[in-house]
Amino acid sequence: MKAALLETLPGITPFVSLIGPDGHRDTTGAFADLVADIGPAELLALYRDMVIIRRIDTEATALQRQGELGLWPPLLGQEAAQIGSARALAPDDFVFASYRENGVAWVRGVAPTDLLVTWRGVAQSGWDPFIHRMATPQVIIGAQTLHATGYALGMQLAQSDSVAVTYFGDGATSEGDVSEALIFAASFAAPVVFFCQNNHWAISEPVRVQSHSAIVDRASGFGIPGIQVDGNDVLAVMAVTRSAIERARRGEGPTFIEAVTYRMGPHTTADDPTRYRPADELAEWAAKDPLARVAAYLRDAGVLDAGAEAEVTAAADAVAAELRAGCLAMSDLPSDALFDHVYAEPHPRIDEQRAEHEAYLRMFS
């Protein structure tokens, strides 16, 4: 039945929405059925996730302003897209994301402090991809979509249940690698979900520079079902992601999800969006805030009273405090870490240069 749902998709691109900005929840229809198990308590947990990652984002931004981080890519506004999708995955699925998916990393169990390793410049990555079943941030736009597709080919070959999920942006859809990933995925019917967060901007370029038609339409062109979902609706995002994951698990191949959302903040802390972004656009999207609508629903449902609100805030503050403490406690690697892991096996030039470096340091000691 879910299958049927998606089989009908190529060409057509429904816009899936379950909780509107007003907090009203739509419980009818195929997608609503996919999240029938998500009651007020479960929604409160999703809300909690969103509050926490927004708080992580605020704290990390502050740490950058204070000179503790070199850079930070905020996810402000994209909480529902990231939490709704990540909470739809099984532990054994594998995520290949870009640099902005800190909310996804949170769900995958990455310690908040480990998120900062890259941006503090201590190391290029902060966690073991195999422990969290999530690759570390990919800076080369679009490259990770091919990695996810290849991983999915491997799972198919190994007859594993694991599904690959790749996150990328609206801008990324222009990179040849993303089209090639869709082509390989379609050719091999690989178990991979393409999750595009269309946050309307690629640094200073509005999405229309990349495409005049809906991003989701790309999918059908490659023979892949595409769904467009309200990316600020955590429940709708979870529903479409579940359907795509299940479809992949059933061996029916790749699905493309366009989560329509908005980058409320700057591209990174180095960016000044006022140079290119109309102020009213921001206001328009503020009204569609992904957290506010769930809070409204939860208040109506009576599960988000003052006590619960306080508990969530306290939890977020605790994570933020842990984040800050962890950041300040982080120590640099010794300089000869330069030569570690360049190769997995012995390499004479690396040994030679390590020795040169040590001899050089000895001159000063």
Partner: protein, 338 residues
């Protein structure tokens, strides 16, 4: 001759503006080069003046940028492509080495490729992964391309204009760490007709050692020369400027006097420009050499995380250690076989 004090970023911007005024076949294209004016503001204000078709914000695809630039060259234009950061030039590699570099010879001279490819370049700014690469040697090994580097505002202004009027494709490397350094720039000079772009420049005269640097390390080399002076070592510093072709006349004239060559660059040592300089100078000046040319470079590793880059990038002390080495004076490697 009006002159102005400009940062290197503003000097390049002024050069681009001037080139666009001088020739309406000049178009600027890349990611975020329009309204934003580039992440380093190098194209700032150009779209306001010249419109969004002569200053194009392109889709996010480097191969697309270079490939469409090739077509624009077929149409008689002189595209100036911005690659947002050094580490993002690789998706365009095929179009650059197989199309841009070969079209003129493939067509036996019928089709010119007067592209300028601007690349914010190198480390020293504490950036994230893929934002500090030094890929110049990949292009100096590619026949059909010219490769230039700049190190100060005056040079940046003169060379960008010469690169744009060149009928050959030019990779123009801009050391990010120098973007905000100010200097005097003569604004009215016409683009050089004497291929000044191809020439290296002796930026400090000396007699004991020839020290060749380019881009972001020229200043570091000059600082090393000054420091060495206090120890009675006289270093001649050469800013190589053009990386392809290399101005061997200037380099060998110096080495024939000093008998000693030190080459410095940020890029990894193996197969870096230092290898070509060392090999070619040894071929040309073997009997003048008192010591093997010394290379002071980045290590043979991917560019390291921000907190470690200071150990990877040659600094004044590492350059001075190389100078000691070429002079057979006490140095970090003296007890190594070679």
């Amino acid at each position: 001759m009006t002159a102005a004090t400009l940062t290197m970023a503003s000097a390049i911007n002024a050069g681009l503006r001037r080139a666009m005024e001088d020739d309406d076949r000049v178009v600027v294209m890349g990611e975020d080069v329009g309204k934003l004016g580039g992440v380093y503001r190098v194209t700032q204000g150009l779209q306001e003046t010249f419109g969004d078709r002569r200053v194009m914000d392109t889709p996010l695809a480097e191969s697309g940028i270079l490939g469409t630039a090739v077509g624009l060259a077929f149409a008689g234009y002189r595209p100036v492509c911005e690659i947002q950061f050094d580490g993002f030039i690789y998706p365009a590699f095929d179009q650059i080495v197989s199309q841009v570099a070969r079209m003129h010879s493939r067509t036996r001279g019928a089709v010119k490729m007067p592209l300028t490819i601007r690349v914010p370049w190198g480390g020293g700014i504490g950036a994230a992964e893929h934002h500090s690469d030094s890929p110049e040697a990949l292009f100096t090994h590619t026949s059909g391309l010219r490769v230039v580097s700049v190190s100060d505002p005056a040079d940046a202004y003169a060379v960008i204009r010469e690169a744009i009027v060149s009928d050959d494709p030019v990779l123009y490397f801009e050391p990010k760490r120098r973007y905000h350094v100010k200097g005097e720039v003569e604004l009215d000079a016409a683009p050089s007709q004497v291929r000044a772009m191809d020439r290296a420049r002796v930026v400090a005269h000396g007699t004991d050692v020839t020290l060749v640097a380019y881009g972001g390390l020229v200043q570091t080399a000059l600082a090393a020369a000054t420091a060495a002076q206090t120890e009675g070592i006289s270093i001649e510093v050469i800013d190589l400027r053009s990386l392809s072709p290399i101005d061997f006349d200037t380099v060998t004239a110096s080495v024939e006097r000093t008998g000693r060559l030190v080459v410095v660059h940020e890029a990894s040592q193996t197969g870096g420009l230092g290898a070509e300089l060392s090999a070619a100078v040894t071929e040309r000046c073997f009997y003048s050499l008192e010591h093997a040319p010394v290379r002071v470079t980045g290590f043979d590793i991917p560019f390291p995380p921000a907190k470690l880059e200071k150990f990877h990038l040659p600094d004044m002390d590492r350059i001075l250690d190389g100078v000691e080495r070429v002079l057979d004076r006490p140095n970090s490697l003296q007890d190594r076989g070679w």
